[in-house]
């Protein structure tokens, strides 16, 4: 499960940053890859659609220090999926 979540998240990040898919790894820093707040809004939309989750507003935007790398996004998505399943 975890691996496929990671793959899907990285695919979505690659699509929006227009980076080659092999260049996007869990260590990829979001800001340095050109992810600005508007792009983040589109990424969030795709993640919510793909995983059928709801990402709370406070997780959004550049003010959120937790989302620094692609791995942080994967972690967040996994957390939300788990929450959804236990709810």
């Amino acid at each position: 499960m975890s691996e496929s979540v990671s793959d899907a998240v990285l695919n979505i990040l690659a699509k929006h940053t227009e980076l080659d898919r092999d260049k996007v790894t869990p260590d990829t820093p979001l800001q340095l890859s050109g992810v600005d707040s508007l792009m983040m809004v589109e990424i969030i939309f795709d993640l919510e659609e793909h995983f059928d989750i709801s990402i709370p507003d406070e997780m959004l935007g550049m003010q959120n220090q937790k989302l620094e790398t692609a791995a942080d996004v994967v972690l967040l998505v996994e957390e939300l999926i788990q929450k959804q399943q236990t709810a």
């Binding site: 227009e18 809004v41 589109e42 969030i44 939309f45 919510e48 659609e49 059928d52 709801s54």
Partner: protein
């Protein structure tokens, strides 16, 4: 008061993606009306429209831009890029600040609105794409034109149904005359050949189910078209100073409202706008040689417009040449006054009145010379373009040759 000239034109319509395509089909009377292909018309009474053809948005715009760019705004951009290139203008520094963008639309991002609401209302979609709002707002076209071309002066959209672009051109004229701007990129855009919208128009009972035959006895309604038209207006001094090629002068603006009905047109309101345009241009009715009519092809509009023309022009009405090019490019609503302004300027430049296509037999209630089916070479010094919108919002523009 500054004189105002046209130095650039651009358009996309059912006649093609450029002004050149528009011009050649317009003068030959080759109609862009055909079966609707943008959605499945099963169960529709109305199955025809004037669609923009051979159009692939993915080939024209980067995919990332398309998430924020409705079809209507794409058309606005295409027409405006062509018009500005045609005018030979590039915007930076003081010129960018002294240039206005005024671009009309009747509805705005209707495709975006409809497809997205369909998803939330009927398909259980939990969320909409984050750029749905910036994509559907009716000022998106004006924003995209200013961003794309780097124009930093006043920019906004006008909306008044079928007169939207007429009001846009009118507001641009007033800004240039008042000295607020030296250049204006202006016109209108519309793209509403969508399932829900055509259904809504069908309900009005004003739509033809075969083709548009303005002023003809056999007319049975209007045909919706899509597209955009943009003209570049400049003060004569500004255009001369940079040695720009000039298509003609826009000499008169007339605006009025019927204060009557949301649907029924009123001859008095239309006549008032034509009269106001003539006074604004300082011209006698006898100076006008050609009128590009509103001419929707509905049973109501065409006799009303004919009566209004007779009221304003008196005995000169029998010498006037009047045509409705909606028979060729369809009724493009918020883009109509812009495409028809271009048609009128082409008539001045080619000294030829474009025809009313699809004309069959004359209607006794419509007793003017409507240039049936074949363009007519003739001297034209001053020409008028009429737009009379639903809800009685009227704009009339007068264009003149600029020989001095």
């Amino acid at each position: 008061m500054s004189r105002i000239v046209i130095t650039g034109m651009g358009c996309i319509s059912s006649l093609g993606h450029t002004c050149k395509d528009f011009s050649s089909k317009l003068m030959k009377g080759v109609s862009g009306i055909g079966p609707i292909t943008l959605f499945d018309t099963t169960g529709f009474r109305v199955k025809v429209a004037a669609e923009v053809k051979d159009y692939d948005e993915l080939r024209l715009f980067p995919e990332k831009q398309l998430s924020k760019l409705d079809r209507y705004a794409q058309f606005a951009l295409i027409a405006s890029r062509e018009a500005v290139a045609d005018a030979g203008l590039e915007f930076s520094g003081p010129l960018a600040e002294r240039t206005a963008v005024v671009h009309g639309t009747g509805i705005g991002g209707q495709t975006t609105q409809e497809l997205n609401y369909f998803k939330v209302y009927t398909q259980g979609m939990k969320r909409l794409h984050p750029f749905t709002v910036p994509k559907l707002i009716p000022s998106a076209g004006a924003s995209w034109i200013s961003m794309d071309l780097g124009i930093t002066g006043p920019a906004f959209a006008t909306t008044s149904a079928c007169s939207s672009a007429g009001h846009a051109i009118g507001m641009s004229m007033l800004m240039l005359r008042s000295g607020i701007a030296d250049v204006a990129v202006t016109g209108g855009s519309e793209a509403l050949i969508t399932y829900g919208t055509i259904k809504a128009w069908e309900g009005l009972r004003v739509m033809s189910n075969d083709t548009c035959r303005p002023f003809s006895l056999q007319r049975n309604g209007m045909v919706i078209g899509e597209g955009a038209g943009t003209i570049v207006l400049e003060t004569l001094d500004h255009a001369r100073a940079r040695g720009a090629a000039i298509y003609g002068e826009v000499t008169g603006l007339g605006m009025s409202s019927d204060a009557h009905d949301m649907l029924q047109p009123l001859d008095k309101g239309a006549a008032a706008a034509m009269q106001a345009a003539l006074s604004d241009a300082g011209l006698a009715p006898e100076s006008i040689a050609y009128i590009n009519a509103h001419g929707t092809g509905t049973p109501q509009n065409d006799p009303t417009e004919t009566r209004a023309i007779r009221q304003v022009f008196g005995s000169h009405a029998d010498k006037l040449v009047v045509s409705s090019t909606k028979s060729i490019h369809g009724h493009t609503l918020g883009a109509a006054s812009a495409l028809e302004a271009i048609a009128t300027v082409l008539a001045l430049n080619e000294q030829k009145a474009p025809p009313t296509a699809n004309f069959q037999d004359p209607d006794p209630q419509c007793d003017l010379d409507y240039v049936p089916n074949t363009a007519r070479p003739m001297p034209i010094t001053h020409a008028m373009s009429n737009s009379f919108a639903f809800g009685g919002l009227n704009t009339v523009l007068v264009f003149s040759r600029c020989n001095d």
